[in-house]
């Protein structure tokens, strides 16, 4: 069972601070989660939260464009940031004697980003992000799948109706005013969780955090999270066929499911592993090995917290196999979850795989810091870093079947099928 030690502190300006010392190696991880993601974007501004994340590396009052990266890398560190539906995270891992450098850089952009913003920088990063979209979505086989899943699983105005990358049109529409407004609304110490993990002295680190972040004022008017209420079930089966530049058909089954952090989510996380974790999993065994209709199988539950989460399962057809054959085989296995209890051996298998995988992830201080920030930011319960495995192990056959019966059903299913496009319109 994980045993991550940490202390929690609250600065007067509302910044939540989690400190998790570990002196095995002279390195330290700094990780900040801001409680803002693509779900907070305004209509017509899809992709903005992520574009904004890029702008956070374009300098601040005392840091030049590119300097955040160059200072950390010159110190022998690594760094990055990611934007997702619910949140945005920023992180550095570097030699521990440079801890203050990371805190200074993170605090400077939180304290004084706007004076450094220019139209030229915005235009440059807009181009970069549009190329990121081309690279990961538009020019990739099956690249549009999550955009389509989100658009079909969630109604038009829902905050999860679109993925963080956004649309080209909306990216084109982003302005410096949007940068100012977004920063003022969401980037404040009382909307963030800061975790430090690794080789540091907690009292000293806390005083460094106070020195750098303490003077940054709270925002008394953080906008409330958008209304994400949505029916727990789709209500009917949805189907969409996508002709794409793909050699092999692929079938996605997507469902609404209970949100991350709930017992229902935990139960379906186990279901997802029964289906496709490892070569003894049900889908691998049935579709890949025995029936030989699929080339690969994948399943996962999106850990998101607004209204409903997403449970997605996919299989790529073997050459000569149709999408209909793959879909029929997938549905047969998936539906069995609700009608048949797993054996103790089967549960034991996924429990042991899960425990080993968490143990392995938590070896790295960057991952430990990220999980502490995540549980702190999404639930205000960082201690979940240690209880998450027992929540998983507590799922028994009865809960599993109940959760599967509630969510993995035809009237809650999107069937999204990629097929090979014919003709010259191939790359459209």
């Amino acid at each position: 069972m994980p045993d991550v030690h940490f202390d929690r502190h609250l600065l007067p300006n509302g910044l939540r601070v989690l400190l998790s010392p570990d002196h095995r190696a002279p390195i330290v991880a700094v990780n900040i989660w801001y409680d803002v993601g693509s779900r907070h974007e305004k209509p017509g501004k899809t992709g903005f939260a992520h574009l904004f994340e890029h702008m956070m590396f374009q300098g601040s009052e005392h840091v030049a464009k590119g300097e955040h990266f160059s200072q950390i890398q010159a110190a022998g560190g690594t760094l990055n940031a990611t934007t997702w539906l619910d949140r945005t995270n920023y992180f550095e891992t570097l030699p521990s004697h440079e801890l203050e450098l990371a805190l200074w850089l993170e605090s400077d952009r939180l304290a004084s980003l706007l004076p450094a913003m220019t139209q030229e920088k915005l235009d440059n990063q807009r181009d970069v992000v549009k190329n990121e979209r081309r690279f990961s979505v538009d020019n990739q086989p099956y690249g549009t799948w999550d955009e389509k899943v989100q658009a079909l699983l969630f109604p038009d105005a829902h905050p999860y109706h679109h993925p963080p990358i956004g649309s080209m049109e909306d990216l084109d529409a982003a302005s410096l005013d949007d940068v100012r407004e977004f920063f003022a609304a969401h980037y404040a110490p009382n909307n963030a969780v800061l975790t430090i993990a690794g080789d540091f002295d907690p009292p000293e680190a806390l005083s460094l955090v106070e020195r750098h972040f303490g003077p940054i004022p709270a925002n008394p008017a953080i906008p409330p999270a958008p209304d994400s209420t949505v029916e727990p079930l789709l209500g009917r089966e949805l189907r969409e066929m996508v002709p794409d530049r793909v050699p092999l058909p692929r079938v996605y089954l997507a469902h609404r499911m209970p949100i991350f952090g709930t017992p229902g989510f935990d139960a379906l996380e186990v279901a997802v592993d029964l289906l496709a974790a490892g070569r003894a999993s049900r889908l691998y065994r049935a579709l890949v090995r025995e029936q030989q209709v699929a080339q690969d199988v994948t399943s996962f539950a999106f850990p998101i917290i607004g209204g409903a989460a997403m449970l997605v399962i996919w299989a790529t057809a073997r050459p000569g196999i149709t999408s209909e054959q793959v879909e029929a085989a997938l549905v047969a296995e998936v539906d069995r979850l609700a009608s048949e209890d797993p054996s103790d051996e089967e549960l034991g298998r996924v429990r042991n795989l899960h425990a080993a995988s968490v143990e392995s992830s938590l070896e790295r201080i960057s991952e430990r810091a990220d999980r502490l920030s995540m549980y702190g930011c999404l639930f205000d319960e960082p201690e979940r870093v240690n209880t998450e495995v027992s929540r998983y192990l507590a799922v028994d056959a009865g809960r599993l079947r109940e959760a599967a019966a509630a969510s993995i059903r035809r009237d809650n299913r999107l069937v999204l099928t990629y097929v090979r496009a014919e003709g010259p319109e191939l790359g459209a």
């Binding site: 390195i27 022998g76 450098l101 304290a111 690279f135 092999l248 070896e363």
Partner: protein, 452 residues
């Protein structure tokens, strides 16, 4: 809005030393070398079994047999069929992997320490008594052929494959991916796999790396129990002598409708034993090894042509490629190529700035301990020592050797290792959109080829 509270970069504290973990070597009488890396604070154990049975060990007519053999190993043993073997390992929370590269084949797992013995027993059974079931062979062969189709549908992987195919002459095995081409894989039979295994999966050149939480004597005894009576010696790998596929030229791989062009610019680079290895790392770090590198700064942060640009070497037992890599929106394909070529030329004609050199060394030296945070990462770090016969103190002296790279070494690395006359400039993109502009750059003979 807010005031300047801490305007200056804070000073660094006192660095605390880091040392790569100590390890010891034991040898069984049949030749198996055991590398023991005890890690006091680890709660896991990683086992990597390495064999001189990679693609360099196969004969060219059977290209891809090493990869297919490695993949087929996890499909069970004489005692346990494919599903039973998967269940036996996964019940222990273990996912056994088996794969091959040019220079070795590797079977590996990670486990909670209490499952080390059971895991080792299953790994040894898999290596020594594989099932090589005929149905599983056909299934995995078909899967491999379909993988090749899928890879060619992805522009980045297509560019990688086409770059190898053009950078090396057809008589150099490296001109293909290590897992084989559709033609060579199609020709493989189950007997070829059995033969590859019989000849090359032998203890004399085998290495077992164990890292993490374990008792050294018990672990050695466990390996002895599982592999001690395994006998035989394989021929090892063949020598590969790389030949270039041609002089400086431009190849456009036509992919109609592409909204980006995947670019690769480079040529044959260095092997793992090259004395310029460390200067080459520093040089490629400056040119294209970090976010702050010249290529990324220019193409991404100044021009906005791409999500990222980088360059690097791929050293193997023989010389792998050196290439600059990026993906740019279609309408700036030609200017991006011009920038890449110009920056590679400038790297060899204009001295690097002292600050750039310091930055690259500091970065590589500083991130050193970050590379060895995980138990599996430390086990993987032993692999080049075992496979390439590097000195045992390789990681102990690694940072000193980087620090010793001076301006003269890095300048000669650039002059010797970037050869403008030999540059292969390859673009995977929509030829109807990019051909004329690329041709107008007049960088060398241009050929447009269809995507395979």
């Amino acid at each position: 809005m807010t005031q300047a509270i801490n305007p200056m970069r804070p000073p660094a504290g006192e660095p605390r030393p880091y040392h790569f973990p100590l390890f010891e070597r034991r040898r069984l009488s049949n030749g198996v070398t055991i590398w023991l890396v005890p890690l006091e604070a680890s709660s896991l154990v990683s086992v990597h079994l390495l064999l001189d049975a990679g693609a360099a060990a196969e004969d060219e007519a059977h290209g891809g047999v090493a990869a297919l053999t490695a993949q087929l190993l996890v499909s069970g043993t004489r005692r346990l069929d494919a599903t039973a073997f998967a269940e036996a390992t996964e019940q222990l929370g273990i996912e056994v992997s088996s794969e091959s590269s040019w220079d070795s084949a590797r079977a590996a797992f990670q486990a909670l320490p209490r499952y080390l013995d059971d895991g080792l027993a299953l790994l040894a059974e898999m290596i020594r008594e594989p099932r090589f079931d005929a149905g599983e062979f056909e299934r995995l062969k078909a899967e491999r052929l379909a993988d090749i189709l899928q890879a060619r549908a992805e522009p980045g992987r297509l560019a990688d494959e086409m770059f190898l195919r053009n950078a090396y002459a057809a008589d150099t095995p490296y001109h293909r991916v290590s897992a084989g081409t559709p033609e060579t894989v199609e020709a493989l039979s189950r007997d070829d796999v059995i033969g590859h295994h019989e000849v090359h999966y032998r203890p004399a050149l085998a290495n077992v790396v164990i890292a993490g939480a374990f008792d050294a004597d018990e672990a050695v005894a466990a390996v002895e129990r599982q592999l001690g009576d395994w006998a035989g010696s394989g021929p090892g790998h063949r020598a590969i002598e790389p030949h270039a596929g041609g002089g400086r030229r431009v190849v456009i791989v036509d992919r109609p409708g592409s909204v980006q062009s995947e670019l690769r610019v480079g040529h044959i680079g260095i092997d793992r034993y090259d004395p310029r290895y460390f200067p080459a790392i520093v040089m490629s770090t400056i040119v294209g090894g970090t976010y702050s590198s010249r290529l990324n700064q220019r193409l991404r942060e100044q021009l906005g042509y791409t999500y990222g640009a980088r360059c690097g070497f791929d050293p193997r037992r023989s010389a792998g490629i050196f290439s600059a890599t990026t993906a740019v929106q279609t309408d700036v394909t030609a200017p991006s190529i011009a920038e890449l070529v110009a920056m590679l030329e400038v790297a060899r004609t204009t001295p690097f700035e002292e600050a750039e050199l310091r930055f690259a060394r500091d970065y590589q030296v500083g991130v050193f301990p970050l590379r060895f945070e995980s138990t599996a990462g430390i086990a993987a770090a032993i692999e080049p020592i075992a496979v390439y016969g590097l000195d045992d103190d390789y990681w102990q002296t690694y940072r000193d050797r980087l620090e010793a790279v001076g301006p003269a070494e890095v300048a000669s690395a650039a002059v010797e290792l970037i050869r403008p006359d030999e540059l292969l400039i390859l673009a995977v993109g929509d030829a109807s959109e990019i051909r004329a502009d690329v041709e107008a750059l007049d960088l060398g003979p241009l050929e447009v080829v269809p995507a395979p």
